[in-house]
Symmetry: C2
Subunit: 340 residues, 2 copies
DNA sequence: GATCATCGTGTAACTAGTTACATCTGGCCC
DNA sequence: GGGCCAGATGTAACTAGTTACACGATGATC
């Protein structure tokens, strides 16, 4: 109420003047580290209350060189697999004293690089990204800033990035093995868009390396639109008894398409997915799927990134296991073809 | 490579010394505002490249007083309704030059207050929160910092917080009206946990104010566990022909329970939800639900918060419309009771 | 009673970058 | 050739908070 009514936020100098002490003393009271006499302490505290003083985060950052923020660059927030992952990531990071800044890339490498620059300008101390393929601009950025980065949803110990994730090829093979064990011989593989998605590419690559199986590959549009592609798939080969979908969203779309064609799942056709989304349990029939350990991945990525930032020691890659969750797939009747 | 090999990050003074100019000149080159001779500019730029100089975000914040960050406090990231919302929020905020810092509260008001303090320490310029009920600590915090806050998922023009959302009571009544129009007279209402969730409370309150209807209220556990509660619901009154679930997750659980009891949906029992999750379209039968405009809510909340921060003028509350999406509900056969 | 240690506190120099003001140089006009 | 203006650049004082060091006042020990 004196001379500075215009200025909204008070700083330490104001508090010091009000309490009749030096800024150093105020700083000591606020940080609580050094010893300050009880009477002085009380005087400073009442000054802080009177002036509604709150210390500036930026000034503290400037001195400590620490921002306690990490950035997550994900394709989208609107997908159960990423939101699960981020939920675990955020929780673990909070336990380590870090805050999470999220930015969406929408699978656009240029946008990823731009958003990464934004986050670096904010002062993030590390990144969590999805997959291995990133633009050169992004690579330059992290090399220049020497920022710790953990790449997730992918495990590759030979990558220049530190990966915490699973073997996407192995995950796809788990689904295939399950179908083969169930006696299925002619299997259709449905994959979504592969451009800018190295996880899907790795899954397809692994399946294509299995010459023993009669696999038929189909590219389908993402989401529920996959349901319309199912008719083409069945017409292309009547011997198909199982559909292997490289994501649960595609699998759910395929199941809708089969229902429309009056093909019963699993009696007439087995369907498996990859992701094991929560919703895959609540549909009917419950979808068999390869479970991806995204919650653990979030926890482990957070832990490793936090340690990397604190110690300066590059984290080590970590492989997490996927597992097949059989729910509604059934034994093929010895390769007997569907009724047309 | 000279005397400061230990120091990792170079600052403007280093660049100035290297280029043989003053810090002011470097600052001018970096900000690009004032006029600097071409030759000097080139010299400074090569110094910047040579030293791998990147300006400190915190120092800029300290001078501008701006952090260009906003915080979102949500119950969880692992729920389709919040991740949709945050996806839209993040996208719109990015267009306004803001970054989004997320923190999860897990419906714990104390945790919310703690995380809010963390975010304020980071220097966020505004908040997006869910619902109206928050701890006193949170209220004190935002009052003290005079931080702009937008409360979402709720519309209440009389609230001290600025709300951008929908009328939760009206949303529940939309579901009820739909069932009544379809001729249903005896309706069970399933609600999840209400403690610390004012959205659910508002929905229940609105339904309880409808004395004309024979509504039977049941509290059920969240998630798929809801499927086990369905048997009790049906046994408590055999005349029930429709189940109104206050969230889609509960509705999906209820549909699973009905399937186990061999009650056909919708022939024997109509089910409606509230949320209209993406997964509600891909289940069978597709779930009728009240659509909540969460994507628009994210966009509008971001827009209003950004404007509030930029102009200092308190945003105005905004009501968004919900709408009934009928997918699998059917006309009741004149209140005929189910076969036991 | 002198010496030393300790506690409380202030001074001032840091952290990194911005910017108002001063200064210097050169070109142009009269 | 003096005066004037503009462009380019430096100086130093800001932004807010931390902290090494110094100083003075106690109290305890010899």
């Amino acid at each position: 109420m004196t001379e500075k009514t215009a200025k909204k936020r008070h700083n330490m100098r104001d508090v010091a003047r009000y309490a009749g002490v030096s800024v150093a003393t105020v700083s000591r009271v606020v940080s609580g580290a050094s010893s300050v006499a009880d009477t002085t302490q009380a005087r400073v505290r009442s000054a802080i209350d009177a002036l509604n003083f709150v210390p500036s985060a930026a000034a503290r950052v400037i001195n400590s060189g620490r921002s306690y923020m990490v950035g997550a660059l994900v394709p989208t927030l609107d997908h159960a697999i990423f939101s699960r992952f981020l939920d675990a990531l955020e929780r673990e990071l909070a336990d380590h004293g870090f805050s999470l800044v999220v930015a969406t890339t929408h699978d656009d490498p240029d946008r990823e690089a731009r958003r990464a620059q934004d986050l670096l300008n904010l002062g993030v101390e590390g990144f969590v990204v999805s997959g291995l393929s990133h633009s050169d601009a992004f690579g330059d950025l992290i090399a220049r800033y020497k920022t710790p980065v953990i790449a997730t949803s992918y495990f590759d110990p030979s990558s220049p990035l530190v990966t915490v994730g699973y073997d996407n090829g192995a995950a796809a093979l788990r689904a295939l093995d399950h179908l083969v064990e169930m006696g299925h011989e002619t299997i259709a593989v449905l994959s979504g868009p592969m451009r800018d998605n190295d996880r899907t590419r790795a899954r397809v690559r692994a399946l294509k390396r299995q010459p023993a199986q009669a696999l038929q590959f189909h590219d389908v549009p993402m989401g529920l639109a996959a349901s319309e592609s199912v008719e083409d798939v069945l017409q292309s080969d009547p011997r198909v008894t199982a559909i292997l979908c490289l994501s649960d969203v595609i699998a759910q779309g395929a199941m809708n398409g089969l229902r429309r064609l009056d093909v019963r799942v699993p009696e007439d056709m087995s369907v498996v997915g990859v992701d094991d989304l929560p919703s895959s349990q609540s549909i009917w029939p419950p979808l068999s799927s390869v479970h991806l350990p995204v919650t653990r991945m979030g926890t482990c990525a957070a832990e490793r990134l936090a340690r990397w930032i604190e110690t300066g020691e590059r984290a080590r890659p970590l492989e997490l296991e996927t597992r097949m969750v059989a729910r509604s797939t059934v034994r093929s009747l010895d390769g007997r073809a569907r009724e047309p």
